[in-house]
Each structure stands twice: as C-alpha cells, then as structure tokens.
C-alpha cells in the first residue's frame, strides 16, 4: 500500500476535475463550428474556450496525472516510501498555483492565444508565468523520481530496477529534455516581450523551440499508457509479460527518438530547409519502431494469458481473454484506436503527403485519437486499477466501468472518423465558424454534426468516469492492500547496465539533438534574423 496516498490522490483529482471541464468546453466548441446554432458563439469566446480546452487537456490533466502516477509507481514498485514527501508536496502546490494563475488569465479573456501560444501574438504575463510554474512543479517531480531510483540502486546493487519504475524514470528524463525547448521560448522570447522589455519576437526561432517540445511532450503523455500495457495489462489478463527486455528497450527508444523529431510539425514552414526536414523525418520514422515493438510484446503477452485460460487455435485466445476486466478491455480498445491514430501518423510523417493534411481536421483527428483514444483511456483504466489500493474502496461496479470505457471508445471513433474524412476534403483547423452556405462547404455540415454527437458521448463518458471514482455512502471498505505489477515470463535476475540506467542514452540523445536541431537553431543567430512586432491579445 502506498504511503503518500493523499499526495497521489491530490494530483489525480486535480487532473480529473480539470479534464471534465475541458471535455465540456470541447463539446461546445464543436457545437459552435457545426451548422447548428450555439449560444455565445463569438470568436472571442470560441478562442478563449479553445485555449482553456488545450491547456487543460495537454498541460494540466497530463502533468498532474503523470506526477501522481509516478509517485504511486515509485512507492509500489520500489516498495519504499518516497525519498521526500515534503518536496513532492512543494511540487504539487507550485504546479497548482501555476494552474490557478493560468486559468484566471484565460477566464479574464486576456490569454486567448491557444495552448501553442502563436507569438507574435501575446497574452497577459500571468498566463505564461502560470505555465512556467506548472513546469517547475513537474521538475521537482523529476528530481524526486531520480533520487528514488538512485536510492534503490544503491540499496540493491546489481538488482534490476523494476520495469514500471525504469519506465517512469525514462519519462522523467525525457521530460527534462522536452521542457528545455518551450522553457527557452517562454523565458528568453515571450516573457521579455510581454513585460515590455522588447517589442519584437523572432517567430522562426520561437516556432523551432516550441517544436523541440511538441513531439516529445506527446510521448510524455503516452508513457503511462505504455507502462500500463507492459506492467498492468498482462497481469489483469491473467498472464505474464512476454519480455522484460523488450519493454526496457521500447522505453529507451522512446527517450531516444521522440526528441530529435519535433520539426515534423514544421514540414510546411518556410524557415527550415528541406535537408533538415528530411533528417528529422527519417528519425521520425524510427519512432514507430518502439510502438510496433509494443504492439508485438503486448499482443504476445495477451496471447499467453489467453492460452493459459484455455484459448485454442489462431484466434481462440482472443475470445478466451477476460474482457470483463476494465484493464483488459481498455488495453484492447486503446490498441484498436492506436492502429488508426498510428496509421494516420505515418501519413503525417512523410513530408510529401503532409501537404495533403497539414492543418486540416485530419491532424485534429489524429492527435485526438492518439491522445484521447490511447492515452486517456489508459489513464481511466489505471485509475480504476489503482483506486482500491489508494482509497481502500473499489470504484463503482465493474459494469459501469466497462460501459464508461465503451462509451469513450465509441465516442472517440464517432468523433474522429468524420474528422479524418473532412480533413482529406480540405476542412481546415482552428476556425469558429464555417460558411455552410458555400456549396463547396455545405456538404460537410452533416458530418460535423455526427462528430458533435461523438463529442457528446465523450462528455457523458467523462462525467461517468468521475462519478465512478467519487466516494459513496454505504461503501464497503476493502482490507488494506498493496499493489503489484505484472511479472515477466522470465523475471530478470540482472539486466545489462545500459538497460538499468540512462547514462548511455542521455549521451546519445545529446548527439541526436545536436545534429537534428544544432544548425536549425543556430541559423537564427546568423545575420539579421527577421523580427516580428508583438500583437498583444490582452483584452480591453
């Protein structure tokens, strides 16, 4: 049983409450964009809402969930209390203060710059300062994770760090690398401008620095899902993990290849050359390899479980799996959506085809499928899985959990399939309204309404999720129980040092980043790099 239950629960509740509000905003945004008349449909409100939705989902839900889950993993996998609960709480309050500041800035209408900022448009300083505090809070979490692993290794020389913890620390280290880009953008470019010390921003540089963060942050969000695939799902299915080494290798590959690829968000940008775009594209191609390895390893683990349960034949093991268990069901649904999302991603990645889909609804569909379909559905499953050991109470019945997961998956498919199609038709992004009277746009209307219906299902599912977790009167208290992660078929007695630490990988990340981003960043410091005058969007 984890020691710092209140700490972990505080993180998770911040994440989940913000998540429900953000889901509601998302539905309203789709309503505004649809041919149906929506209330409050001014662009000012719309972009305020998009900013709130993006910041909540991308920065608050994820960061708080990952921090809370990281503390849980450290205590349960290492079977020792955190090295410093006080620092962990300090991180929590720092990040929470940041959230409060950012939310206040968005509510005041002085920060409608969306979660990707769009300099030279600028928001009130509180918006950025709040986000910096969230990042600082997460850095404290990184430090706690690093110290926890170091202490474990000192206390258990030669013993392998448990896979769940190894993965968590891989994520923490990757997060340090990841945040370097956006932190540099905010600290050296945006804050000096919003405080009035400079009047201009080098937009090429700011886009490049943000791209440094933009892909790796997605893997930061994705890590808990993969940790669940490797260390929770096999046990829930009644089997074991097929290969511990494959797991470690996948996590290390994520650390390595999710960073030097961010420029694939800038394929259509004029400030970078084809050569460096090619380099980052071919590194992007490699990111799909750990994903494919995961698909293989987890499928094999599931097959193992299915056969242990008496499944026979080529597909019989699938039927034999215990689909009534939420963790197994969520894994299955997540994999299903990962096929679509990952397939879409391969198309985005090849820079020729990218021109067909860049900034269309296709991309929105792609990242909602990956984020909502693979990441968030596993956050649900993890919460259900660890809730008894955190609260001493089971979530509401397993049947409602399953219903909630099914609603989420169906809603996600109903929402994103029309988006994919409309994206290929050229429906573009980030607009508050479409001119459905135009015969070239009119036929999109019904599909937009279908996707809105998907959004409503998602909102219902989000509310159900929180209801399932809420404490209830007359609830049976479970006996105190710990939590154990899935074991490998062949639990490692020892693993190669390279797969038990991160030194080698950090050096390789540094080399990759130097090649991929060295000149592309350096070029902004050669000659007169153009500067754009800021456009403050700070309200009246």
């Amino acid at each position: 049983m984890p020691q710092n239950r209140r700490l972990i629960l505080a993180h998770l509740w911040v994440a989940f409450s913000v998540f429900v509000l953000a889901a509601a905003l998302g539905v309203w945004q789709m309503w505004v964009r649809s041919p149906l008349a929506a209330p409050q449909d001014t662009p000012a409100r719309y972009y305020q809402s998009v900013t709130g939705h993006g910041v909540s989902m991308a920065y608050v839900l994820t960061t708080f969930f990952i921090m809370g889950f990281g503390y849980f993993t450290a205590e349960t996998a290492l079977k020792t209390p955190l090295p410093s609960a006080r620092w962990a709480w300090a991180g929590f309050w720092t990040a929470l203060a940041g959230v409060a500041m950012t939310v206040a800035a968005i509510l005041s209408g002085q920060a409608s710059v969306l979660y990707t900022f769009y300099p030279p448009m600028t928001a009130t300083p509180w918006f950025y300062v709040g986000l910096v505090l969230v990042v600082v809070g997460s850095w404290i979490w990184v430090a706690v994770m690093l110290v926890a692993m170091a202490r474990f290794k000192r206390a258990n020389p030669g013993a392998p760090v448990p896979l769940a913890m190894y993965a968590t620390v891989a994520n923490a280290i990757m997060w340090l690398w990841t945040t370097a880009g956006v932190s540099a953008e905010i600290l050296f470019q945006i804050l000096p401008a919003v405080f009035g010390w400079t009047q201009t921003i080098d937009v090429g540089l700011s886009r490049t620095l943000f791209s440094w963060t933009l892909h790796a942050i997605v893997y930061f969000w994705l890590f808990p899902a993969y940790i669940a695939f490797y260390t929770m799902a096999p046990r829930a299915a009644g089997g074991r993990l097929y290969s511990d080494t494959m797991g470690r290798l996948s996590f290390v590959l994520f650390l390595l290849y999710s960073l030097p690829v961010g420029m694939h968000h800038l394929f259509m940008d004029p400030e970078h050359s084809t050569g460096f775009k090619f380099i980052q594209m071919s590194l992007t191609a490699l990111v799909s390899i750990p994903t494919l390895l995961t698909v293989f390893t987890i499928s094999a683990s599931m097959e193992l479980a299915g056969r242990l349960r008496g499944g026979k034949g080529l597909f019989g093991w699938i039927k034999a799996l215990p689909w009534e268990r939420p963790m197994v069901l969520a894994t299955g649904l997540a994999f299903f959506m990962l096929w679509f999302g990952g397939g879409g991603g391969l198309i985005n990645m090849s820079y020729g085809m990218n021109a067909m889909v860049h900034n269309t609804a296709w991309v929105t569909a792609h990242f909602h499928l990956i984020f909502g379909g693979t990441v968030v559905i596993m956050y649900f499953a993890i919460a259900y899985e660890i809730w008894p050991s955190l609260t001493g109470r089971a979530p509401l019945s397993v049947a409602t959990q399953r219903l909630q997961l099914w609603l989420w998956a169906i809603g996600m498919m109903v929402m994103t399939l029309p988006w994919h199609y409309l994206g290929l038709q050229g429906q573009w992004r980030r607009v508050a309204s479409f001119n459905y009277a135009d015969p070239r746009i009119g036929p999109w209307g019904p599909l937009v309404i279908v996707s809105l219906a998907g959004g409503v299902l998602l909102l219902v599912s989000a509310v159900m999720f929180v209801m399932n977790l809420l404490p209830r009167r007359a609830q049976v208290r479970l006996p105190e129980q710990g939590y154990s992660f899935a074991l490998a078929v062949h639990p490692p007695q020892r693993v190669p040092a390279a797969l038990n630490g991160f030194t080698v990988w950090n050096v390789l990340v540094a080399i990759l980043m130097l090649v991929a981003y060295g000149f592309p960043i350096l070029q902004f410091f050669i000659g007169n790099s153009p500067q754009a005058v800021i456009h403050p969007l700070t309200g009246g």
Partner: protein, 274 residues
C-alpha cells in the same frame, strides 16, 4: 553468467551497439537529406549541385528542386509608416504634457476641448489609440492620406510631436466620447456583424481589430463612441477609393463588401457603443 553487479563489458556491448545504430541512422539521414537528394534534384531547378546542397542545408534561399522566380517590381506603397521597435519606442516614450499644449494650440479648434469634437464634421480624438492617431498624422504628413485642413497641419509637426499629440489623446478614457446620443441599440443584425463578422462575404468581425487588446493591426482605431457621421464618411471614402492609406487594403476590402445601409447602421452602432 555470474550473479554480480553488471559489469563494464556488458555496458560496453549495449552502449556500442546502440551508438552504432544511432550513428548509422544519422549518417544515412544526413547524407541522403543534405547531399544525395539535392544533387539529384538540382537538374530540375537548373542549378549546379553545390547551390542545390546550399539550398538543402538552408544556407541559400530557394528549393533545391525548383527554379527561383525573378523579382522585377517597383511600386509605390500606400503608407510609409512602419511598425518597427523604433516607432513603438517613440510612441511609448512620448510625453503627453507637450502634447497637451500642442493639441490646445493646433487641434482643439476643430476637435474640441480634450478631443471631444463639438461638430459632426470632425471626429472625436479623446481616448483614441495613440498608434492610430500617430499613423493618420504621419500619413497626412507624407501625403498618403489627404485632407485640406489636416495635411498642412501635419506637415508642420515633427515625428516626436506627432507622438506627443497621440499620447495626449490616448491618455483619456474612451468613455467620455461615448456620452453622445445613442443610436443602433438593439440592432441585432449589425451587432452580429460587428462581433461575429460574416463568413459568407469573408468579412471578419469589426471587433477583431477595432477593440482594445485584440491582437489586430497596431494602427486600428478604437471605434466605440465615435461620431456616426465621421464613421460613415470614412467607410464611403474607403469603398469609393477616395481614401486608400489602409495598409494591404484592409478597409477598402471590407467596405467594398458592405451595403450603404450597413455602413449607416454600423456607424450608428459604434457611436452608441461604450
């Protein structure tokens, strides 16, 4: 295999393998992206391989696969005002006190005490954005905008004086200007046009530029409380081509898509807006 702390040899083996794979991938990407592709694409662009490589690296402008078009153009700009850090600094540093004296001497006869014009012939300046006043005075001075009364006045002033006058009028609250008679209250269709725009005509909302703090063009004036007669005249002048100092046709474009009736009602709406 012995049960002992994992040793240096194994770390070497894994580290070496990983380093080799990374090096191989990097080598492939660099050679292919920076050398092979541009050299093979160069003939289509009609350039030598070295130029193509420079373009692929980003040392020279242009695509390694396509010819750069020639640039042969000279045309007169519609306004000489540049929003550079230097201009913005002049505006930010301008002292409103000499501006007040100048305004008293030069502007107040027409634009009224404190910029509240007594006549429908002249716009209110009270609470107007400093950047907007500066832009228009500069354009009167350079000839980009012509007005028989304003042009000679502006020609006598220095850049710094323009900024001081702009700072003086900008220092008032806009509320005072909005105390005049109210029209257009409750005109839902026009309120919608001002706040939502009209996608069918690709008309952006007026409010996406003409309110404070909306991140639009720096020179966009605040419209709330302005004289309806002045607003209507300007919309007509933009639509009819008599006024053309709006950079990149922003207002000529918008006004050419408005009906005469809409111009009237928008002018009334904005006079009544506080």
């Amino acid at each position: 295999m012995t049960e002992q702390p994992t040793g240096g040899r194994e770390r070497d083996r894994w580290g070496f393998a990983a380093a080799m794979v990374v090096a191989g991938v990097l080598l492939f990407s660099v050679v292919m992206g920076l050398i092979v592709l541009p050299v093979l694409q160069a003939p289509n662009a009609g350039i030598d391989p070295w130029t193509a490589i420079c373009r692929a690296v980003g040392l020279k402008a242009g695509s390694p696969a396509q010819p750069q078009p020639p640039v042969s153009a000279t045309a007169a700009p519609v306004s000489q005002v540049r929003w550079t850090p230097a201009t913005l600094k002049i505006l930010a540093a301008a002292d409103p006190r000499p501006g007040a004296a100048l305004a008293q001497a030069v502007c107040s006869a027409c634009h009224g005490e404190a910029g509240l014009s007594p006549s429908t012939d002249f716009p209110h300046l009270s609470g107007q954005s400093g950047a907007a006043i500066y832009k228009q005075l500069s354009d009167f001075r350079s000839g980009a905008r012509f007005n028989a009364q304003m042009t000679p006045v502006a020609k006598k002033l220095t850049d710094e004086q323009l900024a001081q006058i702009a700072a003086y009028y900008g220092s008032f609250s806009r509320r005072a200007a909005a105390l005049g008679p109210r029209y257009g209250i409750g005109d839902a269709a026009i309120s919608r046009l001002a706040n939502r725009g009209d996608p069918a005509r690709a008309l952006p909302p007026c409010e996406s530029c003409h309110a404070r703090g909306v991140g639009g063009p720096p020179e966009a004036p605040v419209l709330s409380g302005q004289q309806r007669e002045y607003l209507y005249r300007q919309l007509r002048a933009f639509a009819g081509g008599q006024r053309g100092n709006d950079v990149y046709r922003r207002m000529r474009d918008v006004s050419s898509h408005l009906s005469d009736d809409e111009m009237h009602r928008l002018a009334e709406f904005y006079q009544g807006l506080s």
